[in-house]
């Protein structure tokens, strides 16, 4: 009863037979083998599984893999180019916008999406943009600061 789907992840196309009930988060982790997409709740509350699907920010645990058929996905593994960190990643590393790292991929993609829409966000904008991503470690301070710094760097570039 498997279905064949074709999904492009970080620029590479995968054709896979999947069970209809397979979640997109698990498809990315287990079928494609990209474990940077984390799972913290499977019901859309925590944001650990956040990816970008056809340009939209989504929680991949709320979608089935079959719903991504024919679509393009960006995961955290697709951000750094040839070992050079994306400015958002760099800001998180240098500004300690992460501790255990479990929320980090989702946070970074949420920030990426936010800065794509709004290159010059206020603190309030940043907090709103990240409101769907929970972090249990940092108290968000250094995350918010890292996004501010990333915005600055991206504008310079």
């Amino acid at each position: 009863m498997k279905e064949t789907i074709k999904v492009t992840v970080n620029g590479r196309t995968y054709v896979e037979d999947v069970e209809p009930r397979l979640l997109l988060s698990h498809f990315l982790r287990e079928t494609v083998g990209l474990t940077g997409t984390h799972v913290g709740c499977v019901i859309g509350e925590c944001g650990a599984c956040t990816v970008i699907l056809n340009g939209k920010l989504v929680k991949s645990c709320l979608l089935f893999a079959v719903q991504a058929d024919g679509k393009e996905i960006l995961t955290v593994e697709g951000l750094a180019a040839n070992g050079t960190l994306h400015p958002i990643q760099k800001a998180f590393v240098e500004g300690y916008g992460l501790q255990c790292g479990y929320c980090t991929p989702g946070m970074i993609l949420a920030a990426y999406y936010l800065l794509g829409k709004n290159p010059d966000p206020t603190e309030e904008d940043i907090r709103k943009g990240l409101a769907g991503n929970l972090c249990m470690c940092t108290g968000y301070m250094q995350i918010v600061e890292a996004v501010k710094e990333a915005a600055k760097q991206l504008k310079k570039a």
Binding site: E45, C46, T75, V76, Y96, L98, G101, Y102, V144
Partner: protein, 804 residues
Amino acid sequence: MAETKYIGKTIPSKEGARHATGRGLYTDDFTLPGMLHAVILRSPHAHARILKVDPQAAREPPGVFTVVTPEEIEKKTHPFKPGRYAAGLKKAIPEYAGAIGKVRYVGEPVAALAARTRGAAEDALELISVEYEPLPAVVDTAEAMRPTAPLLFEELGSNLAWKGSLHYGDVAAAFNQADKVVREHLKIHRYSSTPLEPFACIASFDAASKKLTVWVNAQVPEVIYDALREALGLEDVRVIIPDIGGGFGQKIHLIRKYVVLISLLAIESGRPVKWTEDRSEHMMAAGHSCAQEFDVEAAVKNDGTVLGLKFKEIDDVGGSISTLTIHFTNKLNNLSNTYRTKNIFLEGCSVVTNKCPVIPNRGIGKPGMCFIWERMMDRIAQELDLSPIEVRSINLVQPEEMPYTTPSGNIYDSGDYPALLKRALEKIGYEKLKAEQRREREQGRLLGIGVVIGVEPGGRNAARDMAIFPEMKESPGSGGVNGATIKIEKNGTVTLFLGSPNCGQSHETTTAQVAADILGVDPEHISTSTPFDSDLAPWGVAAANSGNNFHLYDIGAVHGAASRLREKILTLAAHVLNAKSEELAINAGVVQATGSPLKKISFAELGKIAYGNQALMPKGFEAGLQATFYYTFPHGEPNLVPGPEGLVRAQFTFSAGAHVAVVEVDKETGKVHVLRYLIVGDNGAVINPQVVNGQIYGSAAHGISVALGEGFVYNSDGQLLTLTLTDYGKSSTMETPRIEVEHRPSPSPFTTLGQKAAGEGAAIPSPAAIASAVEDALRPLGVRVRELPLSPEAVWKLMQEAVR
């Protein structure tokens, strides 16, 4: 190490790049050949007898390998040895990894199975049939202690599983001499730290060698080691701890049950087995902090001096006896908070209820102790018509008294509490705020300012428990031990093996900074061996993300190992360069004789010699370039074990912080808005400011979220109503305030670099700070805050009651 190039500075996070690129490796990321997937069948009842478990139908589907039922768990495993937190039990009660005979909380594991895929496993789980005889649930401690209450453990004859008391000084005299006795009844609710990554475990058993390897996101390897030996009789165990997605105490204790169950499935099936908990399982069964209730009395002089403190504590410990006293025993760790009171009486009652068992959690019991002190300080101020600042100030331990021995035997290493308080008031602009508050009150705005102070202890000493349970036959151990190994490879690279796992506290970064300064290399060139592997790591009892151990034991061990290795490097280099080792300096991985520019040799060249050229080594030189050091705290005495007076150090270093919360309460909804939150902290000599700040921000945010409503709620049948993070009320970016931090370090005279703890820290005083601020905001209504959480609903009720 004359000057430090890296210690004390913020360097880019060494763990950061792998996490930011999605290359962190967590337990669930691993796959082994032939690996099966496990799921757990859990009790839907809060309290029930298990009449019959029939696994037959679940065994039939082709993908299912193994099912274990209570009967098999009882037959094939042993109960855990009663640990130190069950020491007060009148009668030993066997506790297995799964429920036997009875279930005592919703979510208690009953059976487990392993199948080819997670989907197949979940499908099969529904085929296990269990017949329960539901029993009335006991969810309230007062109800639980009634003689007619249904019993959780018939063997105990009561749900009051433990009661005990201690006293220090002359409490009766203090109360006789008091001008006034101030009384209060206080309560803290159930919450937890809800790490973003749930429990996960992979077990793989090699039947030929009888060696079991587990990959698990456990914070304390020793707990897993002991559990596997006790429950499965296995001695040859390897515990691999990959990146952990947050711990905070949550992954110390109950996780052992699942490691045993998954290991049993692996042994039975002959296949590696993986299990990953889901969020609702985590919420119902991974452990909660303890709901605590306190009857408090303070004997005070008219000037606010607290002569004595008495409190009786009732702990709602849930449906297990294995952590019965954990929240009470930890009261000894900050029993005196920052105050000089000499006469203290405390009594603990641990009551079992049909709720999730309690577990360690950021501060374990210490937020409760700080809450007692800080609520009482405000209450004393009100009753004596003094300012809350005055009352605190008059009772503070003074800097010239350091090191200060508390009545229970803790030794506060260093600190200037009055200065922390003073600076916090200055920085927040206290007087101005007070004036603003007066003005705004006239406009009907409910503004409040809460000022509290608290200590944050660090390090471990299990011997503390002997003061509480003098009947303890076996010493639970004393002090702590942890190790580190550091080596220079043949090619000159430096590798560090830490004795502990890491769940987000930047251990790799901080230890690299210490090693870098001692060895004279760039921290970028130091790599840390991950994951933690008990076969390789030089670990001891303090190898734990618990008790704020890292700053003491890991830093001490890395410092010791790196210093030893430096000696070796200099000995070898001196010989090769024909120089005196005193004339040598190391810089960027090159040993150089001062004054002779040509006399130099790199780590790589030294490595080549040390691992392969005997003729160039000095006589008697131990080949290789590596060193291991196991650290114990050299200032562990006095009071390492309780003497006849019962004095004992519960922990060894004492950070402190003054917290100020400025809040506004919404009159219509009861919602509390945190307008400002400031911490002036003393975490000793800081090794990496951004790391320490991160720990403070995170722990403060958690304490604030707890105070404002995050928590578990059960209904009267013992059903948990908060199974999701949303229902539980975890704060997002929108509710979490900005937190301002200023450091005023008083280096510890006892630790390797003057460092003290930072980790649990701000979670200890922050619930009290919010309570204080909310009460201050509601002062025009005459409201007294006695209870957490201060959810909008709770605050609204307080306002309604006051108006009536």
